[in-house]
Symmetry: C2
Subunit: 333 residues, 2 copies
């Protein structure tokens, strides 16, 4: 069993106010590279920053790493358009960093990476894959892709207050820039990803389509971005069993999540890690919520009977990443 | 503890008669990509071929994989100029495939990748690294680098009959093409690698220099190519403890190996896997001998008390890679 982290970037994340995946917009480009290192090594290596939200909420990659330390799952990172160096080994599928979706053709590599990822998915010598994603700004591109496919599914946010109005505005400008209309790319997933998306979504979708062809069990571990990836899979005509595993934080934030999962014929697993200790308690306050495979990792932790140990293990990971963040436990924030 | 496989290519390997790392010269470019997949997954994934020598001797990557299955070590692949796609995740240090050393500037990226690898070596969050290599044609480039540094150390071969005359001729042409003389790049390891080498040697040397700076124990797992890498390390002025771990097949082939290791202040470990069963018995007949970290993996197997299990485990790996090759066990070759 492997957890595959699909890691990439979109310049869309640089729009102020869209993403909490970095202390400020200048740092979001490092977040996927750092997340990959944290899952691979339990620490940052080449990356100059440890990803936190603007309020200091730690990256969900730390939770995925904690589950890896508890369960020993194999990890694997696919480069879906990383913009900064990472010391995590990555698989190349030809992806480049995505441009701002308000440009005419933000992800020209989408059709090519979809196909390369599909071929990789077919070839994986595994029985079971859990796929996660890390791409700051990804809920905005997910909104764009869902609209392009004609799917009426809402998206969540890594911020406590979802900047829905701003996202609507960005997605509207993206449709204008690429000259297509909502619903126009139904059943053309490569075009939806190319004109409204980011490079991560076609890689996740391609891996999933390929794995289904090879009878590999697939779990998409994530939130509403994974609903967008699953929509791409269904619009590609792939009908096999797919599970979506998310956190209780996303499920609570998006009441329509279960309905959306059902509309895409996905089995839904929601896991509550029960975080109570600072800084992890910020998740219960609506920060971050999901990402870097967290929902999938929590599902595995639950299946292996170690869910109750995740908080302690995650605090241990965080103490290595940034001792100051966890010292706050005793002193209060 | 990690085993790092530094995997790359040099067009030098296309010269007929130089390398046994492929059934014929047209296939040697796939060998490092396939070796990386075999160590990562225990099977080829994207690679269209399973590397064997012209006589059918299996790649040493199968032995390294067998030891991984016995001991559970973490593996990591650095892309030191791969020419073909691999499904193994790789770390990027900016390397490109090396050109034929009979061209004027075959590895212009050598200084840059040495420095990028050094920085990676410093940053690895590990206490101990075993570094292996896979680069067809690598003993010829190793000869070039050793001569450029002024080190009087002979090189081995993946062929039973070392084509020493041909290698001398190629290296002589390489000196002519680059306009430098033997010994001229002593204490300038980046230039020796750039003008006479392949992209793998400066990556191995850079990783080692960086790891030594960070007080990480380093074992170079390989044959005379690793002597060339160690020479680059010493000519870079790095003085720390370095072990070289090779197979008995290389040590038997190069009587001067121990003396050379001593002259470079390397601790030497020689391990005999005792292969007796076809097709692994070809190793005892002088085929392949070493590569893909085999000597380092055998050292680990010995340290962990599983050396006697390696042959059976390797036959099991081979039966997955190519059932026909191992069916020969019962029928004879």
């Amino acid at each position: 069993m492997r957890v595959v982290l699909v890691a990439g970037t979109t310049k869309t994340a640089k729009i102020p106010g869209l993403s909490a995946a970095g202390a400020d917009p200048s740092l979001v480009g490092h977040t996927p590279s750092a997340d990959a290192e944290i899952i691979e090594y339990g620490d940052t290596v080449r990356s100059p920053v440890t990803p936190v939200s603007p309020t200091g909420c730690p990256t969900p990659a730390a939770i995925t790493r904690a589950v890896r330390e508890l369960t020993g799952f194999d990890a694997l990172v696919v480069d879906a358009g990383l913009a900064e160096p990472t010391a995590a080994p990555t698989i190349d599928v030809g992806a480049k960093p995505g441009r701002d979706i308000r440009e005419a053709d933000p992800v020209p590599t989408a059709p090519g990476v979809f196909e390369a990822a599909r071929q990789l998915g077919v070839a994986f010598p595994e029985d079971e894959l859990v796929i996660g994603e890390t791409v700051p700004g990804g809920t905005t591109t997910a909104m764009g892709v869902l609209r392009a496919l004609g799917e009426d599914i809402p998206v969540s946010s890594s911020l406590p207050e979802n900047p829905t109005g701003l996202k609507e505005e960005v997605v509207s400008e993206a449709f204008d820039a690429s000259g297509i209309s909502p619903e126009q790319t139904a059943h053309q997933p490569e075009l939806a990803a190319r004109f409204l998306g980011d490079p991560v979504l076609p890689v996740v979708a391609g891996l999933t389509v390929g794995a289904l062809e090879a009878d590999i069990d697939v779990t998409l571990g994530g939130g509403t971005q994974m609903l967008a990836a699953a929509a791409l899979v269904r619009h590609a005509g792939a009908l096999g069993d797919v599970t979506i595993a998310t956190t209780s934080y996303v499920a609570d934030d998006v009441p329509a999540f279960a309905t959306a999962a059902e509309s895409l014929s996905l089995d839904l697993v929601v896991t509550d890690p029960g975080f109570e200790t600072h800084p992890l308690s910020q998740y219960a306050e609506g920060e971050a919520k999901e990402g870097a495979g967290m929902g999938g990792a929590l599902m595995l932790a639950d299946e292996m009977g170690v869910l109750d140990d995740v908080e302690t293990a995650a605090l241990d990971v965080l103490s290595r990443l940034d001792p100051a963040a966890v010292d706050g436990v005793e002193d209060g924030p």
